[in-house]
Assembly symmetry: C2
Homo-oligomer: 195 residues x 2
DNA sequence: TATTTTTGATTGACTGATCAATCAATAAAA
DNA sequence: TTTTATTGATTGATCAGTCAATCAAAAATA
């Protein structure tokens, strides 16, 4: 069994397992045992590689935000006009894997954790800022700069809010409807400025 | 000390203490001891009156949503026109005590808890539905029914989203700015329909 | 009115379970 | 032989929940 170079493999397996367990459980009060079991290793190994449960959770946030970022970058590259880039950002926010109930539950848990863990909070703040600046950058090509900031705030809030409402799983709003609401927000506000 | 009729007094003290401790802690992983201490009683007494920690937490959500509801009802009574009533709903959502960091942290924790506790989820769903129907009822007086539902979804999402973004405490959006964004959403979308 | 009984309020001390974290030991590669 | 991977067993701390005992007010009784 013991081969060399297992570290990156185990780290990835554990981080993925953590996300899955947290998503299923809908909470960060999951045990290292559960995570380790899901990853197919012993709890002791999880501690060996991550030092503590907190570190594993922080790493889990970091990795998943990084992946989300990669999706955004790819989608932005594929889009050409500013308006298309705005749509790309929105589309990625609501893409299937992100909008799955377990994923939403996990993000919600991380937002709650950010109240206690400075490092978790930092990552989420960075993500929020990046979303905002992506929106602003492209909005500036379509409206005055002073309006761009405001509209970006609104759009970002709407995206986050649609996640929250989705998390309650009552009257679930479809992906398409969520995208349509956010697109509608942008379009209507941009049109209003053109008068 | 032991007087008769303490039950309602203690229950209220414990529910208030729970909200405070959860808000400060930013999480539901608080101990009965902390809550009891904050309420000035022994942990055993908290168990005596609520049976379990879970019951106390559920009761805490229930009571605080009830208070929020009372605020909304009062604000709606004070408003006369549909447009004023819409503004009243928005204003209450962002009123000082609701928008305080500890309160936001507590709500966030409860939303996360709703992933696990069916009863907590039920209360939050009821609140979400009520917000939605308050919005729809008044929007219907200002635009076609088929648009009212959509606009209400958007406004509700924006309100929730502004809370989430507030919870990160970075680039905090002021109460006034939050109200302005939500009002702007309604106004702009209603105007767009009038063409 | 004085005395006894009952009842509600309250807690300290305890229990059992859970879990993060540690560590010494093993096994297989290099 | 040294290094890396891996785990079983264990520890120590934390907590929810229980329980028997106490205390004082209220109600009943004499």
């Amino acid at each position: 069994m013991p081969k060399v170079g297992m570290e990156p493999v185990r780290r990835k397996a554990l981080v993925d397992a953590a996300m899955r367990v947290i998503g299923d459980h809908g909470s960060l009060t999951v045990t290292m045992s559960e995570i380790a079991k899901q990853a197919g290793v012993s709890p002791a190994l999880a501690h060996h590689y991550f030092g503590s449960k907190e570190q594993l959770l922080i790493e889990t946030v970091r990795v998943h935000l990084q992946r989300l970022r990669d999706s955004v970058v790819t989608a932005l590259r594929a889009a050409t006009t500013p308006r298309e880039k705005l749509s790309a950002v929105i589309r990625v926010s609501f893409q299937a894997d992100q909008f799955a109930p377990e994923t939403i539950a996990a993000w919600l848990a991380f937002y709650a954790e950010a109240q206690r863990s400075e490092e978790t909070r930092r990552f989420l703040v960075i993500y929020a800022r990046r979303l905002h600046s992506n929106l602003v950058a492209n909005l500036k090509a379509l409206c005055p700069a002073e309006d761009a900031g405001r509209i970006a705030e609104g759009a970002a809030a709407m995206i986050d809010g649609l996640y929250i409402r989705q998390s309650l799983k009552s009257a679930p709003i479809s992906t398409e409807a969520s995208i349509a609401l956010t697109e509608g927000y942008l379009t209507t506000h941009l049109n209003a400025l053109k008068g």
